[in-house]
């Protein structure tokens, strides 16, 4: 049976440019360099690609772990899927379409280090989400908030990092969407919060068939829920495959990671 891919990237390259020529000038003034006897121009900067001719695909209806060291391009990849970043080269297709805000009604994206609106209470946040996110299941969200010990009357600004992470997760998982992108959902979060987050991810898988891509450093925590794994390094794909197959061939996903990146 041919595998269906919800997300496909073909030969995608992306380099981050400096913001303005003033930034460039400032940097050069500091270094006081001259190139070939003339003042430096923007083209002299070697652009370090965040993604380098990357070709990779994510199977539909499966949970894929997107793993790799810092700067590998994982966040950039996810951002591209929701149209926050545009590629310099290559094609990206999400359910057969180019990424754009127009398709984001079907995609739930948890931004890396994303905060929520501090002045809202938890209850207000869920009510607000119901209005602005299409297909947001408010009942489910409330149940999840309850199971995650979130006080509906608590203001978001008073929440600890772990509790805010739980709220952010609910804002993604309570949406009836086909694709869920979680960028570092476990980062800097306490153990109990991590458990609760994992539990809720497992629950949401039973709900509707959906494609989930999780980008994380906490491999040990999360690897048991991956069905598919993709390893990225310096903007390129180093290894990809079915999690159980990799376990049969090489051992735990964590050990595979260590082997690749040590």
């Amino acid at each position: 049976m041919e595998m269906e891919y919800a997300v496909e990237l073909k030969n995608v390259t992306k380099s981050y440019k400096k913001k303005t020529s003033l930034d460039l000038k400032a940097e050069f003034d500091y270094k006081k360099e001259k190139i070939h006897g003339r003042l430096p121009m923007s083209k002299d900067f070697k652009k370090k690609p965040a993604l380098d001719h990357l070709t990779v695909a994510f199977p539909t209806g499966q949970v894929t772990g997107l793993l790799g060291p810092n700067g590998a391009g994982k966040s950039t990849l996810l951002k591209m899927l929701v149209g926050l970043v545009h590629q310099d080269e290559g094609t990206i297709s999400v359910f057969g379409q180019s990424p754009s805000w127009r398709n984001n009604g079907e995609i739930a994206y948890l931004p890396d280090r994303g905060r929520w609106y501090a002045l809202q209470t938890v209850a207000e946040a869920l009510a607000y989400a119901e209005v602005i996110f299409p297909a947001f299941d408010l009942d489910l969200a409330r149940k999840m908030a309850d199971s995650m010990d979130l006080d509906p009357a608590a203001q978001v600004s008073t929440l600890s990092k772990g509790l805010e992470a739980r709220l952010n997760l609910i804002l993604c998982l309570a949406r009836r969407v086909r694709l869920i992108l979680l960028d570092e959902p476990f980062s800097g979060i306490d153990l109990v919060s991590r458990d609760k987050i994992t539990q809720n991810i497992i629950d949401s898988m039973l709900d509707l068939p959906k494609t989930i891509i999780i980008c994380t450093h906490e491999i040990h925590e999360a690897e048991s829920i991956f069905e598919h794994v993709v390893f990225l390094d310096k903007g390129q794909m180093v290894l990809a495959g079915n999690a159980e197959q990799l376990r049969a061939e090489k051992g735990s996903i964590e050990s595979v990671y260590r082997e690749l990146f040590q």
């Binding site: 629950d203 039973l206 040990h220 048991s224 829920i225 376990r247």
Partner: protein, 126 residues
């Protein structure tokens, strides 16, 4: 009798395929009579939560057990161990054979003859 976490005490080793481990450990628990005939198994959701694994992995294991007629799903009620003792006996025999073959492999690797192995077996802690 409903099986709770204490009776179905599965431990997973992340360095080996999880699906196989779940399958093997449930079969083993059945063979050792830890699970009684006709007992109720945890739902896919419950087991996935307990083990913190992908529910699809649990589902695959349950499907395989279903195919072997070791468990049966009753609509609206849940998943139950088979009531046929011969099925359980069957696994027991298979697992025993596996253990024996594994024993024989180890003995051969150590260079022991069949005679030596048998006498060691007799003297073992029965």
């Amino acid at each position: 009798m409903t099986i709770n976490e204490e009776t179905l005490n599965l431990r997973l080793d992340l360095s080996k395929p999880l699906y196989e481990q779940i399958l093997h450990q449930i079969r083993y628990a059945m063979a050792r009579k830890d699970l009684e005939l006709g007992a109720k198994l945890p739902s896919v959701r419950e087991l996935a939560q307990q083990l913190r694994v992908n529910p699809n992995t649990v589902m695959r294991a349950y499907q395989e057990l279903n195919r072997d007629e070791l468990i049966e799903t009753r609509r609206g009620q849940g998943t139950f161990i088979t009531t046929k003792p011969q099925k359980i006996q069957h696994i027991r025999d298979n697992l025993a054979t596996e253990a024996i073959n594994s024993f024989i492999d180890t003995m051969q690797e150590l260079g022991m003859s069949r005679q030596t192995a048998l006498s060691l077996l007799e003297e073992g802690k029965w």
